[in-house]
């Protein structure tokens, strides 16, 4: 029995039981809570049902393998959107994984927390995590698409923008993973004569890699669903080609969904639902992989 249950039982023998009114309120409150949880589940269920109802009839192998068509809407597909999303993910991951892990390692292993600049970095990351995604889009437009980097409306620009967006998340998750490695491991390594970097590279990082990988996958799955920053930097709408390099124009699943949702032709709206299903499937897959990794490889210290 829990401590609270023991205490409750003890109290009942000494203090009179709760009055009827208290019990009525308790019952009422429980109903409220269940109602709240019920609303959340209902919302999720209705949403999935609506998307499935509109989208399932449109799902087919052709859908995944064709380009958007203006002439015959029912021939439209999401191939360019899928490839665009994949390209963006690769660019984003290539940037965010080393940068995120390096920053997390620095903050956890090297940074002297009494120094003001290290504290500033920490607070700064927390703030960046809360900046709306549309502001990252503005950053991308002003600095990456135009301005200093002037990369144009290309895959590379999109990937960098998304990388900056999810970098704070990766840093925070990686820090937690690194922190979960007990200090005894570090101390033992150092006592055996390893340098700090050797300790990190051979003991701390391998020990936290499962947590880091989980976090990276979750961050990438967040980046996949982002619409606003890509809208602002100018992703193409309904292109009939796949990106063929970092300097290519691109689209992405959320952008294609956005364009089709607003089309006057109901046909395209239903196609948007089908594209949503594909995107959610991809997200489900990624999240399952992340959870699998966490369960299978998580170090229990």
């Amino acid at each position: 029995m829990t401590g609270a249950q023991i205490a409750a039982r003890a109290s009942r023998s000494v203090i009179p039981r709760a009055a009827g009114r208290d019990r009525a309120f308790a019952g009422f409150f429980r109903a409220l809570m269940l109602g709240a949880v019920g609303i959340s589940i209902l919302a999720l269920g209705t949403l999935l049902f609506d998307v499935a109802r509109d989208g399932v009839p449109k799902l087919s192998v052709d859908f995944v393998g064709s380009f958007p068509s203006r002439i015959i809407p029912s021939n439209s597909g999401i191939e360019s959107a899928i490839y665009g999303t994949l390209w963006l993910m690769v660019v984003c991951a290539v940037i965010v994984v080393p940068l995120g892990i390096a920053t997390a390692v620095y903050l956890e292993e090297y940074a002297d927390r009494t120094k003001w600049w290290n504290r500033m970095v920490e607070v700064n990351i927390q703030n960046l995590a809360a900046v709306p995604s549309v502001v990252y889009g503005i950053l991308g437009l002003a600095f990456i698409v135009r301005g200093p980097l002037s990369l144009g409306r290309t895959v590379l620009a999109g990937g960098i923008t998304l990388a900056l967006l999810v970098l704070p998340v990766v840093i925070i998750v990686a820090r937690e993973a690194i922190r979960s490695v007990p200090s005894s491991i570090r101390e033992a390594a150092l006592a055996l004569g390893a340098t700090q970097w050797q300790t990190i590279w051979k003991q701390v990082l391998p020990g936290s890699i499962a947590g880091i990988a989980t976090g990276v996958i979750l961050a990438l799955s967040r980046a996949i669903g982002e619409t606003a920053p890509l809208l602002v930097i100018g992703a193409a709408v309904s292109p009939r080609f796949n990106p063929d390099g970092l300097g290519s124009a691109f689209t992405a699943l959320p952008i294609q969904i956005f364009a089709w949702t607003q089309d006057k032709d109901r046909e395209f709206v239903d196609l948007a639902a089908a594209a949503i299903l594909v995107m959610m499937l991809a997200l489900l897959l990624m999240n399952s992989v992340a959870i699998f990794l966490r369960n299978r490889y998580e170090q229990k210290w």
């Binding site: 401590g3 609270a4 023991i6 205490a7 409750a8 109290s11 009942r12 039981r17 709760a18 208290d22 309120f25 308790a26 809570m33 709240a36 949880v37 959340s40 589940i41 919302a43 209705t46 949403l47 609506d50 998307v51 509109d54 940068l99 390096a102 920053t103 390692v105 620095y106 903050l107 090297y110 940074a111 970095v121 700064n124 960046l128 809360a130 900046v131 709306p132 995604s133 549309v134 889009g137 503005i138 950053l139 437009l141 002003a142 600095f143 970098l167 340098t195 700090q196 970097w197 669903g225 619409t227 606003a228 809208l231 602002v232 100018g234 956005f258 607003q262 949503i276 995107m279 997200l283």
Partner: protein, 320 residues
């Protein structure tokens, strides 16, 4: 000092060695690693600097053309018109943002808090195993899907169909409520964390005094976790304020300063996304409006975030 040491050692061993250690290849390597890692960490600082610079420079250019008083206190937002019909009063956008967030929080606060309390204090393990992943699933749904849902289902079939309300095609009620649904998982998980952090001794003490579980949860644990809960609400509000796509799709594109939830409204973030689209020529006043509104939005969320950090720090202190 180094010379003395060299001299002494030379005298002792007959060879010139130094008692003072010079950096070996290994420690130079270690030093380089540390510098590299710090450079990585500096990227985050550079990001913030870049955000501030990009917002600030165009904002300043904007206020060269439009007086700051007109912007902050004007009630008409019609940047796209020409001549004397053009007006840059940002209040309708700020109001739209707050109004939609308000409707959203009206839904998200009760549902989120009650769900959080349930998960923390009442849910049996089997129920928790189902509900928690469902909430995480809801949290992982991209906002575009919510936007789709609001436009194609919630407005026509729920608001107009089931409830029979005479709302516009793009209206604040739909966008606001769906915005609330978006924010519920954020609030629920943070409230649950805050309540779970309250020491068990408080619950035991309360039970010992004869309170039932609901009374314990509501009168003892909840107030004890209050800072964390308020931080959760502030974070939820911040998330709602920065949300773009739902409002863009379902809320409409009219900058509106009234109180009618059946009409269309525009938020700051939605305005930015609607106007920007990578197309706008650099240097035009339209281009500058994106940055000015972006700066306003950035300041809003920054302030909210700092408030929530303070609150979290305060509630952590109470128990550590």
């Amino acid at each position: 000092m180094a010379d003395y040491a060299t001299a002494v050692s030379a005298g002792a061993t007959g060879r010139r060695t130094s008692l003072v250690r010079r950096p070996s290849g290994r420690s130079r390597f270690e030093g380089a690693i540390k510098a590299l890692l710090f450079a990585a960490a500096a990227v985050s600082i550079l990001t913030t600097i870049a955000i501030v610079i990009s917002l600030l420079s165009e904002t300043i250019a904007f206020f060269g053309d439009v007086p700051i008083g007109d912007y902050l206190f004007g009630t008409k937002w019609t940047p796209q018109f020409a001549g004397d019909q053009q007006s840059f009063g940002v209040l309708p956008l700020i109001w739209g943002t707050l109004y939609l967030t308000g409707i959203g929080l009206l839904v998200a606060i009760p549902v989120g808090i009650l769900s959080g309390i349930y998960l923390a204090e009442f849910a049996p393990r089997r129920v928790r195993k189902v509900v928690k992943p469902l909430l995480e699933l809801l949290a992982g749904v991209p906002t575009i899907v919510f936007g789709y849902f609001a436009l194609t289902f919630f407005t026509p079939e729920v608001l107009r169909g089931a409830l029979g309300l005479g709302v516009n095609q793009f209206n604040a009620l739909s966008a606001g409520i769906i915005l609330g649904v978006l924010v519920v998982p954020t609030i629920a998980t943070l409230v649950e964390d805050a309540m779970a952090a309250v020491p068990q001794s408080l619950r035991e003490g309360s039970a010992g005094l004869g309170a039932n579980r609901v009374q314990t949860a509501v009168r003892v644990v909840f107030p004890a976790a209050l800072s964390g809960i308020v931080a959760a609400l502030v974070l939820g509000a911040s998330r709602a304020i920065g949300e773009t796509v739902i409002i863009l799709i379902a809320g409409g594109q009219t900058a509106n300063l009234s109180l009618n939830p059946t009409e269309s409204y525009q938020s700051m973030a939605a305005f930015i996304a609607a106007t920007a689209r990578g197309d706008i020529p650099t240097g035009s006043i339209e281009y500058e409006t994106i940055f000015v509104v972006g700066m306003t939005l950035f300041v809003f969320t920054l302030v909210l975030n700092m408030i929530s950090i303070r609150l979290v720090r305060r509630y952590r202190q109470v128990y550590e």
